[in-house]
Amino acid sequence: MTNDELRSVAVTKTVDARGTACPGPLLEAKKAMGTIKSGEILEVLSADEGSKRDIPLWAKKKEIDYLGTIDEAGYFRIFIRK
């Protein structure tokens, strides 16, 4: 998805993991996945550079759709769909 498309998706839940270093954002994503339904979208906010690759890799293994990442000033918005 393009950044414009990502900005307009209907996010079901946002988890703010900007206060944690690796593996915090990944674990927050995993926990939050357990609280949303199939088809719903989770947004993970992370200030950890490694999350940009780690969360998409994890999502692929768990058969979760990785929609894309928006690079904001000082943090990332990572979108995945259950």
Partner: protein
């Protein structure tokens, strides 16, 4: 489908390696792996109830002069205490912590109650070998 398995031999009792083990453990838990941790030698000392949360008792694996810098950076980055990684991982997945019987005795630990409350049991070495034989991922830290 059966979960993949990770077997970790945790030999080190140093602050930095224990933290690294906790980070790796978290990655495995995120992948829903079943994890068996075998705590050996100096690792068993760090898992003693009177040692685990006492950072003054834990040194670095190498470059000891970097200890204070390491601790300060971890604090600034909100990195969990080493043992919290293990406690959180156990709450999220099937993670078992086994203390080597010999290693425990080296540091005066003979009963499971001598170790952190989240340690599961005291075992012999063949359990570790069997776990390693059956694991998809095997680490020695």
């Amino acid at each position: 489908m059966e979960n993949k398995k990770m077997c970790m031999a945790l030999f080190s009792g140093s602050l930095d390696k224990l933290t690294a083990a906790g980070v790796i453990l978290s990655g495995a838990v995120a992948d829903d792996m079943d994890v068996e941790i075998y705590v050996l030698m100096q690792g068993a000392r760090a898992f003693k109830r009177d040692i685990a949360t006492n950072k003054d008792q834990l040194m670095m694996a190498e470059n000891s002069h970097l200890r204070e810098e390491f601790i300060a950076a971890c604090k600034q980055l909100n990195v969990k205490e080493w043992y919290q990684f293990f406690i959180d991982a156990k709450a999220m997945a099937n993670v078992k912590v086994h203390i080597c019987g010999l290693a425990g005795k080296l540091w005066g630990g003979v009963k499971i109650d001598d170790f952190v409350e989240w340690a599961d049991d005291i075992v012999g070495i063949n359990e570790y070998i069997t776990s390693a034989q059956n694991a998809d991922v095997h680490l020695f830290i």
